[in-house]
Point group: C2
Chain length 201, copies 2
């Protein structure tokens, strides 16, 4: 059955990014230590043939917040088509939450960025329509995932817990009412623990 999933790399204290994102530092302040790199090193260390299992980038539509899409704020007054170059790794429709209308942006490889200005429910409806029988992924960042969790719209949460703490930034579960989860999977390498939770209520 089609699910709404979410897949996030977090520090041991629950942060997915530091404060003060910029174009050169998409994961924000890093205290000079490269938190973005540290958070995601586990992924580049994962053998390519195992990545599909680990990251489950198998959704047929994605939803992301504007800050995950890029550093541009306010009107779309400069060209920005995401952090991922001409051929993004999605290859399906991606719905970007924003308050500023913009025409759809087709990319190479099947990815099209659609810009949704009428809220998370509308974005999910459009993503479900695009995904057909496939899953929809609430791709991030944590602020967007928290909005969907608070609204009870995520079925499965897959966390990659990295052995650092950040102490400040964008934090998973902030502002989300208490949840009952079911731990459906837990696996580890020496550098990361992958936890999969089903969201019960």
């Amino acid at each position: 059955m089609s699910k709404v999933t979410s897949n996030l790399t977090i520090s041991a204290d629950g942060y997915s990014a530091g404060l003060n994102q910029t174009e050169k530092r998409p994961f924000g302040d890093d205290g000079g230590d490269g938190w973005g790199d540290k958070l995601h090193a586990w992924y580049s260390e994962t053998p390519e043939e195992d990545r599909a299992e680990v990251d489950r980038l198998t959704a047929k539509a994605f939803i992301m917040g504007r800050n995950m899409f890029g550093p541009v704020r306010g009107e779309w007054d400069r060209e920005w088509n995401g952090w991922w170059g001409g051929n993004p790794p999605y290859h399906v429709p991606v719905f970007v939450l924003t308050h500023y209308p913009r025409d759809p942006q087709p990319m190479d490889g099947g990815t099209t960025f659609h810009f949704v200005t009428d809220g998370i429910g509308s974005a999910l409806a459009q993503a479900r329509e695009a995904a057909g029988d496939g899953d929809v992924a609430i791709h991030g960042g944590a602020t967007t995932i928290n909005q969907y969790l608070a609204a009870g719209l995520i079925d499965e949460l897959r966390l990659h817990i990295v052995p650092i703490t950040l102490g400040a930034g964008t934090r998973l579960f902030d502002g989300v009412p208490p949840l009952n989860l079911e731990q459906v999977d837990s696996q580890a390498t020496s550098t990361v623990t992958h936890l999969t939770y089903r969201v019960l209520s």
Copy 2:
């Protein structure tokens, strides 16, 4: 080599207890859902012969905050010898951090509660002395563990991550500067994930 360890059960959002602890609710507000019970159900589900491996209650001295010791605040104006009855599960010296002096309280089974009024460094020095070649455990709650983490005094952190979120309460890592950890162990059952981190810096 003798280590300073800490062992804490937390929710997926990092809380070890809710707000507003009372004698009847040592884990605080639970929204009517029994969070204390939910947080610690994994332990009663662990077969007795596996518990030593899981909880590593092998320290030769323990340190705990006053709120973990009990609900009495201010002066020791009523009798209170902990939540654990006449024969507590420690069987070694336990150092309780408090601002209010009190004579040592010997219990059955080898546990003696010592009350330390001159700070976390003093408590650790006394616990090390008592432990000899054995480990010292910073037993909790999270507020006490956070003080020791912030001071760089914990070598190993063992977390039991339970599949619920609390949304408010006493949170591990609050106020602790960013840490580099080494994930030395990660094991799971269907109801909890046990993570062991070495604290590098």
